[in-house]
């Protein structure tokens, strides 16, 4: 389709860009968060409405094949916007982000959302590369930007170095592919690889590209940045970074293996499953010995990425559907955890477990929501996490991956242990020093209610989420 016609379908992204610029310049001198926050939320709602009303159901190739708008993109696009909205809402609460930095970070988040949507919808290796670079740079910037926080700068530097290292490999992989097939368009590359001429070279390039995705999903050998970044970044940024980039990485993996390397799915499955098992075991062990709350959450989201990958690596219809469902449940739960932690935290992002002792009796509402999110992450009924995990296990069993399922079951047993370490500190003892019961600010209270009810509703009446996941596969 020509650029002009495709612009008609590009409305959500355009709204996002314009909104981002507006929020950037709406940094009010008085220092209130209200102006920038409402601007961002307005853009996001408009973009959400546009995405929702974008009628056409069939998949389109916009901008001459650079941007494929199919079911998956619509699903991820809507997911990204929701996640961004949640993070902005979280940012609006006092203490979540330094006031002076609030407007810039919200604007950057909107740009990041735009970049991620383009990444999910890339139909051409160049768009893929550009989107990955844009997303990476924005995340390094947002992690390290907060003014007087030295730990954040150190984490951002590590993030930058490791990130550029991995995307360098990805770039090399793509160039190798270009050398082999002479083109960077997904369809033509598939045609070239299909005839199986240079299988090993194509496999090598696939591996290089996988390192980029592995870095984004914080899989085992490439996860080292995750704990430092999630601990140092301000809450809304950290919340958004644990959810959105992982979703985008999943989208890319699905697209690569369904559109570019369908013939090498068995090889891809083997690689991904080994990575998945390594990630699950490593994440569980690391989380087990962890006493700092934020780092614990980092490792838990690493383990959740492992379960996501488990669903993806099956490449079966149930597997993908279960993975989409699990992604939605995980996204809501993880955002919720960060929101609840901001409400309960004593020392900002450096909380040790001891700081949360008896937090449930100080702030029962926030602690209750945190319990719901943790139980969903742990995969306990009647919450969404359980159905997602059950469905992934069932799909894996159907494909006969018994060893994978057994390890996943073992790691979820260990998971219980570290999730309940948090519950134990919350509930089992009374608060150490008689702290004043800090009431949760209104925006945070609304966010918590929304997310908690989303997680429980998806757990009890999952049909609507299932239909959404179904549409993502078309």
């Amino acid at each position: 389709m020509s650029t002009l016609q495709s612009l008609a379908h590009f409305k959500t992204e355009i709204i996002l860009l314009i909104g981002a610029f507006i929020t950037l310049f709406s940094d009010s001198p008085k220092g209130s968060r209200f102006l920038a926050g409402t601007a961002a939320l307005l853009t996001l709602t408009l973009a959400g409405v546009a995405a929702f009303t974008e009628a056409s159901q069939q998949s389109l190739q916009l901008f001459g094949g650079f941007f494929t708008l199919d079911g998956a993109t619509r699903f991820f696009r809507f997911g990204m916007i929701l996640a961004a909205a949640a993070s902005v809402l979280l940012g609006m609460t006092r203490g979540a982000i330094a006031l002076s930095f609030f407007a810039e970070s919200t604007a950057l988040m909107l740009f990041l959302t735009f970049g991620l949507i383009v990444l999910c919808a890339s139909g051409h290796f160049l768009t893929l590369l550009l989107a990955v670079e844009m997303v990476s740079l924005l995340s390094y910037l947002m992690t390290g930007f907060s003014p007087q926080n030295t730990r954040a700068r150190e984490a951002a530097l590590k993030y930058l170095l490791l990130g550029s290292f991995c995307s360098a490999f990805m770039l090399y992989g793509i160039s190798l592919l270009f050398g082999l097939t002479g083109s960077l368009d997904f369809d033509s590359v598939r045609a070239a690889v299909q005839d199986g001429g240079q299988r090993t070279a194509a496999a090598a390039s696939l591996l290089f590209i996988l390192t980029g995705a592995g870095f984004k999903l914080s899989l085992f050998p490439f996860h080292f940045w995750a704990p430092d970044v999630y601990e140092a970044a301000p809450s809304p940024v950290a919340a958004y970074l644990t959810v959105a980039p992982k979703a985008a990485a999943c989208a890319i993996l699905i697209r690569l293996f369904s559109e570019v390397f369908p013939s090498m799915q068995t090889f891809g499955a083997e690689v991904l499953q080994t990575l998945c098992i390594l990630t699950l075991l490593a994440a569980s062990l690391l989380a087990l010995a962890q006493t700092r709350v934020r780092r614990l959450i980092a490792y838990s989201s690493m383990a959740q990425a492992g379960y996501l990958l488990m669903g993806l690596s099956l490449f079966s219809r149930e597997g993908l559907q279960a993975a989409f469902f699990y992604l939605a449940a995980y996204g809501a739960a993880n955002l919720g955890v960060f929101a609840a932690l901001t409400a309960l935290s004593q020392r900002g992002t450096q909380d040790h477990l001891e700081d949360l002792t008896g937090a449930a009796w100080r702030n029962p509402f926030a602690a209750g929501c945190l319990t719901v999110f943790l139980l969903s992450l742990a995969g306990l009924p009647p919450l969404a996490g359980f159905l997602g995990k059950f469905w992934i296990f069932a799909a894996a069993l159907k494909e006969g991956e018994v060893f994978l399922v057994v390890t996943a079951a073992l790691t979820s047993m260990i998971g219980i242990f570290y999730y309940f370490k948090i519950l134990r500190t919350l509930y089992f003892s009374d608060p150490l020093i008689a702290l004043c019961a800090a009431p949760t600010p209104l925006p945070l209270r609304i966010l918590l209610i929304l997310l908690a009810s989303a997680v429980t509703a998806a757990g009890l009446f999952p049909s609507w989420l299932l239909r959404a996941a179904e549409s993502a596969l078309r």
Partner: protein, 486 residues
């Protein structure tokens, strides 16, 4: 008729109301909780009225599609196997609630968690859809974990985590088995009735039955997997022990009967000798371990392991008499152990110690307490005229036909229970009063009133047991292992 749904979700509504209660009205938590548990008991009796005990099939069925894409349906039904358990649970929740009237701090959370627990229990007894059963089965874990953890004794953390990890690992294996059943059985659905129509091949049955058995065995508890029970009981407050021993253990046995034996008859038949062996081992190990316990509650916990061994023996012996004995024993054990735990709790409230040797000659100062303790101990060791005797008689008779050795070993188990209970009575109630022993006051009328329903039911079940066996008899034949499931 939404009688079943109301008995399942009414406590949940109560829990939400309690949680919503503002902190200033916290003292109203107890009367509210009593109201909700009492009403649930009333509804349970409503169900008793509405069910015709002579008819073997499922009654009062409520079925709605829940997750059509996966073939999961909201399917509640009651038959004469789950009816007695529903009544027992409703009663014990009311009794436990009444017994915790003295709780002063965190009442709101305490009673809310108890009501959520009741919803989980009622749901798992009534659910006929595997997925729904599993969800209610797991729903029970979190409130019990929090109840033990928040309101427990000194080493409550370890006990709570151990309780949760044991049961969760067991039910995770069950989760895999449920997933396997869903995919491998031709009837693409979780509903028990559909699954029964298309039996699985033996190899699949064998593997999946083990998965289910793991989940149920941890909960019952069957012999090697029982070490979490004493710790959980010692740390949990008395009313919570009543719920744990009185009802939660029965969920495992009920699950084994409802899903384990019916879905995998051949595997169950093949597995029966092992199950009987484990049951007898449980009876003897539980009895011997109880013998050497200094802590009163730990002894009662081990006696529960021994008594639940009878239930497993009854189920695995697989004759109709043994099965009816197993159901009878579940009810009788629920009533008796609740009484024993409450009495142990009263003594702990007064003397803050559970060590049997610290007491002595209590009968002099506490005649009412002594009478009740003797009554419940005699019921526990199977004195005729009380509910323990017909239960053990049926299980012994049923097992005798199948395997006389097991029956003799079970009888030895009964002697063991007599040995440690009478020794406890002698140490605690009789003998001279040691000098520095605490002099506790006798139990108040309020506390005796809580025990009254248990006493009356134990006597009733002991004197004319045909009332209770008649109630559960109709739906037992298909549950018999090795019966040609016509």
């Amino acid at each position: 008729m939404t009688l079943l749904s109301s008995v399942v979700f009414f406590p949940l509504a109560g829990a939400l109301v309690l949680l919503g209660l503002p902190r200033t009205l916290a003292s109203r938590a107890f009367p509210l909780a009593m109201g909700f548990t009492g009403l649930t008991l009333f509804i349970a009796f409503g169900i008793l009225g509405a069910v015709d005990p002579t008819q073997p099939g499922f009654q009062l069925t409520e079925k709605m599609p829940w997750i059509p894409e996966w073939g999961v349906s909201y399917h509640l039904a009651v038959d004469t196997l789950s009816l007695p358990l529903i009544l027992l649970s409703a009663l014990l929740f009311a009794v436990a609630c009444a017994a915790s009237s003295q709780r002063k701090e965190k009442q709101k959370e305490y009673f809310a968690l108890m009501l959520i627990l009741e919803t989980g229990v009622m749901g798992s007894f009534l659910a006929l859809d595997l997925m729904m059963f599993y969800i209610f089965w797991e729903l029970v874990l979190i409130p019990m974990y929090l109840l033990i953890g928040i309101f427990g004794g000194e080493r409550k953390n370890r006990a709570a985590v151990k309780f949760f990890l044991y049961t969760f690992c067991g039910s995770l294996l069950m989760l895999l088995a449920v997933a396997a059943v869903y995919f491998l059985s031709p009837a693409r659905s979780f509903d028990l009735l559909e699954l029964l129509k298309s039996p699985l091949s033996l190899e699949i049955q064998r593997m999946v039955f083990l998965g289910f058995l793991a989940g149920f065995a941890v909960k019952i508890p069957v012999f090697p997997l029982h070490t979490w029970l004493p710790e959980a009981h010692v740390e949990a407050p008395a009313p919570i022990s009543v719920l744990l021993a009185g009802i939660l253990l029965k969920m495992g046995a009920y699950g084994l009967m409802r899903f384990g034996v019916t879905l995998f008859p051949e595997a169950a038949l093949e597995f029966r000798p092992v199950l009987m062996g484990l049951a007898v081992a449980g009876i003897l190990a539980g009895g011997f371990a109880a013998l050497s316990q200094k802590d009163l509650k730990r002894m009662i916990a081990y006696s529960s392991v021994s008594h639940m061994g009878f239930v497993v023996l009854g189920i695995s012996a697989g004759t109709e008499a043994a099965l009816s004995g197993a159901v009878f024993q579940m009810i009788s054990h629920g009533l008796i152990t609740s009484g024993l735990f409450l009495l142990a709790g009263y003594l702990y409230e007064r003397t803050h110690t559970r060590d049997q040797d610290a007491f002595g000659g209590l009968a002099a100062g506490m005649p009412r307490y002594a009478g009740l303790l003797i009554f419940f101990s005699m019921a526990s060791l199977g004195l005729p005229g009380l509910s323990g005797f017909p239960a053990e008689l049926l299980v012994l008779a049923g097992t005798l036909e199948r395997h006389p050795g097991a029956s003799a070993a079970a009888a030895a188990g009964i002697f063991l229970s007599a040995f440690y209970l009478v020794t406890m009575l002698r140490k605690v109630l009789w003998g001279p009063v040691p000098q520095n022993a605490p002099v506790p006051s006798d139990i108040r009328p309020g506390e005796t009133l809580v025990l009254l329903p248990l006493v009356i039911l134990i006597l009733l079940a002991g004197i004319c047991p045909s009332l209770f066996t008649g109630l559960s008899a109709a739906s037992l034949p298909p549950l018999v292992i090795g019966a040609s499931n016509g």
